[in-house]
């Protein structure tokens, strides 16, 4: 066990966990930030996507010891009132079916738009291909990313 000081959503947080504990489980089990989801645990689906220094990162395979001094943003900290352009577009387009993958989708989309504010449809497809949606909401995801890019 070791003590880690973390910077999450602009706040200092402290946890006492084994160094190999993935960020995902620190968020969920130790910090009560359950918006970040577990679905595969092996960097295949994107449900656990968070931002580490702005980079979209699969938190399920990111040991806590790697991110101790980095700036971490989760879905809970993406905006103050759920009004990030991507979140608003997700509501407007009504993207979610079951909704389980959507926090990861939104974090991927927000990172994509930060890097590329006016992506083409192909670039949206490319950028969002890491995230699986078992319910098949891909058409609406595409639409919502395009809308968020427009309204930004």
């Amino acid at each position: 066990m070791a003590n880690y000081n973390l910077q999450i959503n602009g706040k200092q947080m402290e946890v006492d966990v084994d160094e190999d504990t993935p960020l995902l489980w620190v968020l969920r089990d130790h910090l009560g930030l359950v918006g970040t989801k577990y679905a595969c645990g092996i960097a295949q689906c994107g449900a656990c996507t968070v931002h580490v220094n702005g980079e979209p990162t699969f938190s399920c395979v990111k040991p806590i010891s790697d991110v101790a001094n980095e700036k971490i943003t989760t879905i809970e900290g993406l905006s103050k009132d759920g009004d990030h352009p991507v979140q608003k577009a997700w509501d407007e387009v009504d993207v979610a079916q079951c909704g389980y993958c959507q926090a990861g989708q939104i974090m991927s989309a927000a990172a994509l738009l930060k890097k590329n504010p006016k992506p083409s449809l192909d670039e949206i497809d490319e950028g969002m291909n890491r995230n699986i949606c078992r319910c098949g909401t891909y058409h609406k995801i595409r639409e919502a990313v395009a809308l968020a890019a427009k309204t930004k």
């Binding site: 190999d20 489980w25 969920r28 089990d29 930030l33 909704g99 926090a103 078992r134």
Partner: protein, 720 residues
Amino acid sequence: MADITKTNRRDFLKIAATATGGLLIGFYWSSCDSPKVKVLSIEEVLNKAHNFNSFLSISPDGDIVIYSPNPELGQNIKTSFPMVVAEELDADWSKVRVLQAPLDTDKFDRQLTGGSGAMPHSWERLRKAGATAKYLLLAAAAKQLDVDQATLTAEKSVVIHKSSGKKLTYGELVEAASALQAPEEVLLKDPKDFTLIGTPVRNVDNKDIVTGKPLFGLDFYREGMMHAMIQRPPFGKKIKSVDDSEAKAVKGVTDVIQYDNFVAIVGKSTWPLIKAKRRLKVTYEADGNVESTADHDRIMKELLDSRDARVMRSDGEVDKAFASAAKVITSEYQCPFLPHAPMEPMNFFAHVKGEEVELIGPTQTPDAARMQTAALLGIPKENVTVDITRLGGGFGRRLRADYVIDAVEVSKRINAPVKVTWTREDDMIGGAYRPAVRYRFSAALDEGGNMIGYKLRGVGLNAGNSVRQDNFPSGAVPNVLIENINYDSTVTTNAWRAPITNFLAYAEQSFLDEVALAVDKDPVKFRLDLLEKAKSSPVGAVNYDVDRMIGVIKDAAERSNWGKDNNVKQGFSVYFSHRSYVAQVANIEMVNGQPFLKKIIASTDCGIVVNPTGANHQVRGGIVDGMGHAMFGNLVFEDGSPKQKNFDTYRLIRMKEVPDIDVNYIDSGFEPTGLGEPALPPTGGAIANAIFAATGKRLRSQPFIEQKEFSDLNLQMFRS
């Protein structure tokens, strides 16, 4: 202070004032013909009334609460049910709050998610709930304004007296309304006057979803709660030995418990359990058939020739028809076992407190969870409560309560509240799959190219009945024989979105294409001609509506420009399941000499479309699901266990692989039928038929990409 009104119908209305002076309405159903008129207190309405189906309350400040009894897993029921109530109530939708109701079989009816059956079951009941409340509000307003009730109208939670311009809000009226006698009959709206139904209404949980609020079972935590994971055996095996020394040594693990054929690892958080599970050494020995895919293939092929098939339907004289045929076509189709793989893995919270149990989590059948828990512990079902969280997908997997029982077993043993979580690997290898099935189709054709005989024999591994004997083309062919053979495999199976038809439709629609081509007929014309026969000279039972099926076929053909563009190779498919009709056309275009799956055009008749945004979700989602699994889905068994254990080897369809999907709905005016499943079955057939049209290769097994016919096609799935 409340009253109940007897009606001469089978459904009764209860009205009560709420503690805050609001109006509370519920319906219950009974087979009793002459119920006693009885006054119920609010507590009685809330707690003792029978079979509530819907439940709404209006508070004096105008807030409306509608309880949604059915589990929500993405089918959008939590939005569309309340929409129906609000429509008849003329409620201001922005003031409606929807709450998930816990399991309560006394209050609610059919509290489960499966079979696309919720909307057809509840449509009229929900409408009556809304219409009755509105009637009472209008009656109260009529009294207050001293006008004839017929001169009043309602709009967005406001009652309006047009000629005087006077207005009263629902909030101002609830107290008076709750003291009134409910009507014997209520008038429902003419569907053409709907203002909310038929408009796109967004998911009521959107805000919570996009901000990451704890909605799902896996998000449930409670002070003092333990975590557990379960090691499950391969199929057909039992535990021989357990070495838990290394697992127990993992920091954070508090217990390793062996019971029955399982080993539970218990700890204070999730990560130590995942680590311990990797270090747990369990050896197994055979305890029944230890099967592999090679065994499954052999068994299904052998059984297709078995003499012990169960006849499911027989019309005319099939042997004679085949003996006299000018041409006979026979083909076999096969599909593998498939996991449901919802994004949220199986999980449940249980707290066994002596004779009482608290259950919380994602389930499609809360009542099954309760009954099995009660049976396991030998306690009355009333001692078990079930709270339903949002479900991160289900696809039929959460119709089983095995993972609920895991939590109960562990909680009982450690005497503490516990949440059991399955890893993705547990989910993939833990069973209850879509069954594997092999079909043999035969068609007998006369000189004129007419189908005079049709045979279908299905062999399923734990599939129950793998055929749907009364589905089209039964009814359109004079001589029919449909048979089923089931094999008891040790591999467990379960309903999987559009059970059986999720594969049968592809096989059948591909085979019909083969027959059409053999008689040189256009596939659409071939189907329409058969349907004309089902109409003019039906043979045996015809359990589908011929005109509605013709309707979707014609619409899909027209909108896809069927057969008119030589550069587009098209595949057709149509299927009736779960009371809805869906036709689909897959378009393959040649781009730089390579076939490219560009578009799927779908035409759906599900009666009245309650919520177009929800409907589009279900149709497009169903097509994406059908396509993904037809293309990629495979589970290969070795030594009693699947080789694919996670999404690195089990391929799910991704963003770049989905074609454009164009959807349309037939305005047939029928009452709404479900949409969670019906769009999925036709997809595999439409794609396979388009691939044939483009390349001359017939894909007779799934997944397509693993067939040798497919490997040299170079089919471009990616969007341009």
